[in-house]
Each structure stands twice: as structure tokens, then as C-alpha cells.
Symmetry: C2
Subunit: 231 residues, 2 copies
DNA sequence: GCGACGGTTCGGGCGCGGCCGAAGCGTCGT
DNA sequence: ACGACGCTTCGGCCGCGCCCGAACCGTCGC
């Protein structure tokens, strides 16, 4: 059966530690150069080049040439979703047998992180919950709808909603692997993340996917979404 | 980062062709013996044994001893969901470059198939759509709700809704990789599939996940859910 | 032009892991 | 009790593919 072969091929691409490291580094939706990805994976540039060729060849990555650099990014949201689902299984596995010390790094990831191009983690789920509870958002499995109240509310927060409507799905629920509840993805999710970053409510943390809530951000999230909580 | 290693390990387990074949054979939720899985994967029993040990060791499979047989099944719905998401990416990949002849086998899979323990494919999505449109079902991303009208409707169809409520999630949307729209999973999804099979509206096809709609089934689906269509 | 730098290609080494034959263990039938 | 059967363990073979050193191509800066 050829479908089994394709399945195994995709999975095997994720299954190499070096490639897995690269893919995880790209999971926040940024485009990185080959050298950066080599460092992320802990291999030499020539090894990374080989891996990147395989990943692009299989359609998991898209490349963009810019001068003498080559920027690599995940080819599609479905790739990110696939990776999240693998992480969900890996997390199950770890939670079950022995609740082995989840370091501060992990706690930060669970609290707030980027997922492809939108926000994920406890904060993201809380934002979605708050908006649904207030009737500002209607989250259905095949695409959410922002109500007029929601549109006005976000405009009041200074979130830019007018970009690229129509190109991609505007609003889509995305299952959060740490919270196991949906948060907001799609163009709306990306706009929210951008807006939060632009107003400095959130700030990227070192080189990881973790995101920290700034002190003014904490106050703002409490005011706007009723979220109270510590990192 | 240990989380990367766990991710790669899970993916690598799916990435071997023989293991992929076994996992796919188990995707319909049945429990199969080691010998059956060996045949499905096209390897000798001793090779299969080694693979099965790895899969169980990692928590992807659960084993149940019964006499001198050992029945293997997917350990959790999250495993099935992960596999479906990988198939979605693999399908993307195939649709893009060259719409290579999707054989009748594939068309059947797209039309109706089992997914873990519930129904998937065109028919499953149509069932969900019909019930949502009539206000019998409310599908939210973090779990659907059967309305009183829906409960009565299904009771009228002779679907058994009284089993294992509470043990697992009663109703959950599951993204259909061929239709890219949600269908009904969870205990409700399993009850629907069982009911359809029991009334002989659906019948398992040879040894695959494909399911055929029987002639009486076709009439019944048209009457009960307004589904008209050919295999 | 030249060197510096990012990236890829080539070649060869090497280890991991899948595969099977043979043997061992436990369970069931008679 | 014995053999048949399902499954696992052991041992050894073999090949895939990961990895790096070195050399090669293209772009940028001076």
C-alpha cells in the first residue's frame, strides 16, 4: 500500500533527532537560516544541509532565498499541527509513568509559547475562554467566528484585523497540547499574537518558543481578559 | 532538550515501514494478534515481536493477554489522532505536485472508513453536518453536546447511548483528514458506528479500514440524515 | 579583482537497527 | 503427558543512513 509508505516517510523525517530539533526550532513560524538550524540541531552545516534538503524535498519545509542566505520555514500549518499532535502523545507518555520533574523551562512553555504563528499555552487558552464566555467569539470545530462584539472589542485593544482576510482561514481552533483545550489559530490568532507583542504585553524569551508576560502585560491581560496568574 | 528526544522517539517509531503498517492496521481500533500484525506488515513473527515490544514499551500500544494470544491495540485515542494528522500531511504532499490516480481503494477510504472506533470519511462528516444543522448536536472544539432533540432522534434510530458515559469523553470532534472537516468521535462516535453496523447500514470491507454502505444503508442514510450519494 | 562567508556536494567511515534462522517458553488441545 | 501452536529471545548478518572532512559554488564586501 503506497499510502503506508508515504505515512512512514513523513514520520521518519520527524524521527531523526537532528531533524526533530530543526523542526522544533521552526515551530514558532519564523524562518531560519541553515546555519541557525545547524546550531539548533547540534550538527555541522553540511549535515544540516543534507537534512534540510530532505525536509524540503518531502514538502515539510519551504525555502526562500534572500541574497546568500536561505531561509527555511514550515511549509504549512498542517505540519505544525502534526508536530503538536506528536508532542501531545509524547507528553501523555511522560505524564503517565512518572511525573518527572518538569523544569522551569517546561513550566514557562506550558504557560505561554508561540505555536507556528499564534499564541499557545495557558494564557492562550484563557484568552479564548474569556472571549467565548463573553460572546465575542464563537469557536466551532471547523472554524470560529468573531462576533460584532468581538470585532469591536479587539479594535478597542488596537488589534489589527484587516490583514489578509480570505487568504488563509480567518479563525480556527487549535488543540493546545499542554492544556488539552483549544486556543485561537488562523489569521486571527496571528493578529492577536502580533498585537500582544507590539504593545509589549508579551516578549519572546531567549531563543526558544517560550514567551514571557511582561509586568504591564500582566495588568493588561487581567484588565482585558480577566486573566490573573503567575508565570 | 529532553522534549526533543521524546518527540523524535515517538516519530521514529512511526517512521519504520513495518511498524507503520502495523499501526495502520490497528487504526480502526480493533485489537489484533502478533501474527496478524506480522502479516499486515509483511515481516516474520519474530521481527514483528521486536517491533511490537518497542511500540508497547513506548506506550503507543496496549497489550492484552488472552490465553496464548496477545492482543495489541492502540493505547489511546491521542495515538490515532496523531496518526491521522500525519496522514493529513502525507495527503497534502500527494495532492500538491501531481494528482496521481487515486485508485478505487482510496476513493472508498475517502467515502467511508473507520477511524479508531468511530466512522470517518465523507459519510461521517455528512452525518455530523446534518445533526448540527438540525440542532440535534452542538459541536464545540473542546467537546460536543447532544441536545435533547438529538438524544430523542438517535433513540428513535435505535442507537444505544447508555454505555460507558463518563469513562471517556462522550462527544468530541475529530478532524477528518480526507474531508478536512470535523466528524463525531468519542463514545457517541463509537455508539453511532456500532449502531450503523448492527443495523447493517455499513459493512466492513475485506481487511481494510474501508467501509461500504449497503443498499438498505444507503436508503437509511438518505432518510435519516438526508445523505444522498454514491460510493 | 580578491578574500570572506553561507551553503551545498562528494566521498568514505561507522554504528545503529531491521531482518531472519534457530532455539526457548508458555498455553491450549487431546 | 505429549505435541501443536503463538509468541518471544538470542545471535549474527547486512545494509541504510547519519555524520564529518574536504572541496566546490555563489553571493557579498572592499
Amino acid at each position: 500500500m503506497t499510502t503506508t509508505a508515504a505515512f512512514a516517510e513523513i514520520a521518519a523525517l520527524m524521527g531523526d533527532p537532528a531533524r526533530a530539533g530543526m523542526l522544533e526550532a521552526l515551530l514558532d513560524g519564523r524562518a531560519l537560516t541553515a546555519a541557525e538550524l545547524a546550531r539548533a540541531a547540534g550538527v555541522t552545516p553540511q549535515t544540516a544541509s543534507s537534512h534540510l534538503a530532505k525536509l524540503s524535498g518531502a514538502g515539510l519545509l519551504a525555502v526562500e532565498r534572500q541574497g546568500r542566505h536561505r531561509y527555511h520555514r514550515l511549509a504549512a500549518p498542517s505540519v505544525a499541527r502534526m508536530m503538536e499532535s506528536v508532542m501531545a502523545v509524547a507528553a501523555d507518555r511522560r505524564d503517565g509513568p512518572r511525573r518527572l520533574a518538569t523544569g522551569p523551562r517546561d513550566r514557562r512553555l506550558r504557560h505561554a509559547r508561540t505555536c507556528y504563528d499564534h499564541l499557545a499555552g495557558h494564557v492562550a487558552v484563557a484568552v479564548a475562554d474569556a472571549m467565548v464566555a463573553r460572546g465575542q467569539l464563537d469557536l466551532a470545530p471547523d472554524g470560529g467566528v468573531l462576533t460584532p462584539a468581538g470585532t469591536e472589542f479587539l479594535r478597542g485593544l488596537g488589534i489589527d484585523l484587516d490583514r489578509a482576510r480570505g487568504r488563509r482561514v480567518f479563525c480556527r481552533p487549535c488543540l493546545d497540547w499542554s492544556e488539552r483545550r483549544p486556543h485561537i489559530a488562523g489569521v486571527l490568532g496571528a493578529a492577536l499574537l502580533d498585537g500582544f507583542m507590539a504593545r509589549d504585553w508579551l516578549r519572546r524569551l531567549d531563543g526558544t518558543r517560550a514567551v514571557e508576560v511582561t509586568p504591564p502585560g500582566r495588568a493588561a491581560f487581567a484588565r482585558a481578559f480577566g486573566i490573573r496568574g503567575e508565570p
